[in-house]
């Protein structure tokens, strides 16, 4: 039995990911800001005895190559040749959404059209004649309400039907444009251009003067100069009658779309606009917009730490009881030590912070689903401009508070390469949720009465340094104007309770999974190194881990934490930041002893210095892997050197200056 390859394509924010979830049953991350799906995601389902593998492509506006995610989507469609492409469009915004559909039809794919948000269409007294739409485009059309799963069964039927279809529909443009298409196709034939993309699409893109397609073809032809010359003849013929060949093609497409819509749509969606209008008057207010943004961020911070802390304390006491119980009941001393010191101490020290992390992810999910993220970018545009970036660079910053990995991937929506690189390589400075355990463990031990303030200062320092570095990079290596800021502001939508919880839980469970696998493995190694060679006291300076730590410790002498335990913790912390606390917890012999160990190793001054170092150096192996993929090895190495030296010198400067006063 053959596997049927299905790709989902559509504008950002049309419920593509929700359709993906309905089809595959896989709980994918759904958000309400343009560009959530920055990486293609895959899943599969079985229907009527066939297996369908589904790829969710990034949200795009066209098949041109303005930003990186568009390039990814286009290459996938043109080169992987999926059997069926499901184009998902927003029923409330047909005109613009159909533009992408027209490009897909030019590409010659087997298309099923899905009109989503049919509930909103109805609520706004609009009528879309699905049958007529289907007839005039010559493609099957299904109306859906993805979030409720309505219409998905029908969609599966149509996908199955069209997978077996042989003919591929095509849009016929005006005679004039068709003549130009024929001429360019003729040129392609003349030069015997072989491509796995259909020649009609190539011809249209060449008329639009798409730089990527042009270069691609030019490199294939024998006489590039002659080819360019012939193509230019066509283009100058067009430009004699029309201002610009790409605008001419765009106009043709919109003419085609308007003609279709005239017969298929009744009424216009005005109602939901007034709600969005009112909300935007508040959230994007010229004066109040920024204070509101900071207020929201402060509330997120407070809820994460103060509210989450209540639950974390319960868990902490629970861990202590569990550890005592193990010590008293497990007869074998080595096994008891392994379980209590290693497992509970290492993994447990990290897991107690799950409530904080869940709340943080929940709040980020709510902000995304409401549609606030794009507004935050809007409000911050002016501020970001002053450091040479656009408001779009702000969204990866907010996402970074959750986890730097998706945050770095989300930089793909930034249209300007320089700005994308700056935003990506500085993103590790944003304190991700994995750093929360470090902040809380240290602040709780050394600054119990000012815990909130101390943790808040970490965030302020990280953001300040990031802003300063961005400004420095933008005025030295990456000179130039900020990337053009164009962003869709999606309508505000009430987030589904289940939806945001699933998202938050999905991301939290990754954290828990990491604790159960990766950190667990690290902790076993640490426990072994702390217990060996045989006969040595557990976690003493003569154990293997003690020897390792003592070899590194001297370099941190002037940072205030020249003890071997910190060195080992920082070293293992390269894997992931939670491991810093995990290591210290395992060395302390249990989460409940962590505080005691810390008090013997640090003074408040050196503790803060240690927090600074942990805050600023490389977040984890995973984030480095993503950086390599997104910006290449050169910039990743640059980023690592920058972050590590920043961590080293900032914490040293703080300690040395601080020592004068304390």
């Amino acid at each position: 039995m053959r596997e049927i390859k299905v790709a989902l394509a559509g504008n950002p924010n049309v419920g593509k990911t929700a359709i993906f979830n309905c089809l595959t049953g896989m709980k994918q991350h759904v958000g309400n800001w343009p560009g959530v799906t920055v990486e293609k995601k895959e899943g599969s389902y079985v229907y009527n005895g066939f297996t369908f593998s589904v790829t969710d492509l990034p949200g795009i506006y066209s098949l041109s190559t303005v930003s990186m995610d568009e390039r990814i989507a286009r290459r996938f469609l043109a080169e992987e040749k999926p059997d069926v492409v499901v184009a998902i469009i927003d029923g409330m915004n047909l005109e613009r959404n159909l533009y992408l559909v027209s490009e897909l039809l030019d590409l010659g794919v087997n298309l099923v059209l899905t009109v989503n948000f049919m509930d909103e269409v109805e609520k706004n007294n609009m009528k879309i004649d699905i049958q007529k739409l289907s007839k005039s485009l010559d493609v099957p059309v299904v109306g859906t309400v993805a979030i409720k799963g309505h219409g998905v069964q029908k969609l599966k039927d149509e996908v199955l039907n069209i997978a077996q279809a042989k003919t591929i529909p095509m849009i016929k443009y005006s005679d004039e444009l068709e003549r130009y298409i024929q001429r360019v196709e003729g040129i392609l034939k003349l030069f015997n251009v072989k491509s796995n993309t259909n020649s009609r699409f190539l011809a249209l893109k060449l008329i639009e003067e798409d730089p990527e397609i042009f270069e691609q073809i030019k490199s294939k032809v024998s006489d590039a100069k002659r080819f360019s010359q012939l193509l230019n003849e066509v283009l100058s013929d067009i430009e004699q009658k029309h201002e610009d060949s790409s605008i001419f093609v765009g106009d043709e497409k919109f003419k085609f779309i308007k003609k279709i819509l005239r017969n298929t749509v009744e009424g216009s969606g005005k109602k939901s606009e007034t709600f969005t209008n009112t909300m935007d008057k508040i959230f994007t207010h010229r004066i109040w917009g920024l204070p509101i943004l900071f207020g929201i961020m402060y509330a997120v911070f407070q809820l994460t730490f103060a509210f989450g802390g209540i639950f974390a304390d319960w868990l902490d006491s629970g861990m202590g009881l569990l550890s005592d119980w193990i010590q008293n009941t497990v007869p074998n001393a080595t096994l008891a030590s392994f379980l209590a010191d290693g497992v509970i101490g290492g993994v447990g020290s990290v897991l107690v912070f799950v409530p904080n992390i869940f709340i943080l992810f929940l709040l980020i999910a709510i902000l995304e689903n409401i549609g606030y993220m794009a507004r935050a970018a809007f409000v911050m545009d002016k501020v970001m401009n002053s450091i040479g970036l656009s408001g779009k660079s702000f969204i990866p910053m907010i996402l970074g508070f959750g986890c730097n990995v998706p945050a770095i991937m989300s930089t793909r929506t930034i249209e300007k390469e320089d700005d994308r690189i700056i935003t990506a390589i500085l993103n590790p400075l944003i304190p991700c949720s994995a750093r929360i355990p470090i902040f809380l463990a240290f602040a709780g031990t050394f600054f119990p009465s000012h815990q909130g303030l101390i943790v808040f200062s970490m965030y302020i320092i990280a953001i300040t340094l990031m802003v300063v570095l961005a400004k420095v990079l933008k005025s030295t290596i990456f000179k130039g104007e900020p990337a053009p800021f164009v962003m869709e502001l999606p309508p505000y939508r009430v987030p589904g309770f289940l939806q945001v919880n699933t998202e938050a839980w999905k991301r939290t469970s990754l954290f828990v999974k990491k604790a159960g696998t990766f950190i667990f493995a690290a902790v076993i190694i640490i426990w072994l190194l702390a217990s060996l060679p045989a006969g040595v006291d557990y976690a003493s300076k003569d154990s293997y881990i003690g020897l390792m730590g003592r070899a590194i410790a001297p370099i941190f002498e002037f940072n205030g934490f020249g003890n071997w335990q910190s060195s080992v913790a920082l070293m293992f912390g390269f894997l992931a930041k939670e491991v810093v606390v995990g290591t210290l917890g395992a060395l302390a012999g249990g989460a409940e002893n962590l505080g005691n160990l810390l008090s013997t190793l640090f003074t408040p001054l050196s503790a803060y210095s240690f927090m600074l170092f942990s805050l600023l150096y490389v977040p984890c192996v995973a984030s480095l892997g993503v950086l390599v993929r997104e910006v290449g090895m050169k910039w990743t190495i640059f980023s690592v050197i920058l972050l590590v030296s920043l961590a080293y010198f900032v914490s040293m400067a703080f300690y040395l200056v601080g020592s004068i006063f304390v």
Binding site: Y61, S62, S64, V66, D90, M92, N93, E95, R96, Y99, L100, E208, E209, E243, D244, S246, I247, G250, D251, F254, G269, E273, T276, N277, D280, K281, T284, R286, A374, A377, F378, D381, K382, N385, S390, G391, E415, E481, P482, P484, F485, V486, M487, E488, L489, P490, P491
Partner: protein, 73 residues
């Protein structure tokens, strides 16, 4: 007049200056020469919000300066 100076109201796009990348991106998002748009919020020193049919766009001041509009009612 450049869109960046336009007060809230209805306008028609006369021309889009600046690079291909910018004008292509705007076309793809539904803002084209001849489009009728509504300036929802204006700010000569910062980003503005415009509405074209059901699409609400945030435009940075750099881009707003390059879009030339005329009043349309």
């Amino acid at each position: 007049m450049p869109l960046s100076f336009a007060n809230p109201g209805i306008y028609k796009v006369k021309s889009i200056n600046g690079g291909r990348t910018v004008s292509k991106r705007l076309t793809d998002m539904g803002l084209r020469i001849g489009s009728v748009l509504q300036v929802v919020s204006s700010d000569s020193f910062g980003p503005i919000i415009v509405q074209i049919n059901s699409t609400r766009l945030a435009l940075g001041k750099g881009i707003a300066r390059k879009i030339i509009v005329e009043g349309a009612g």
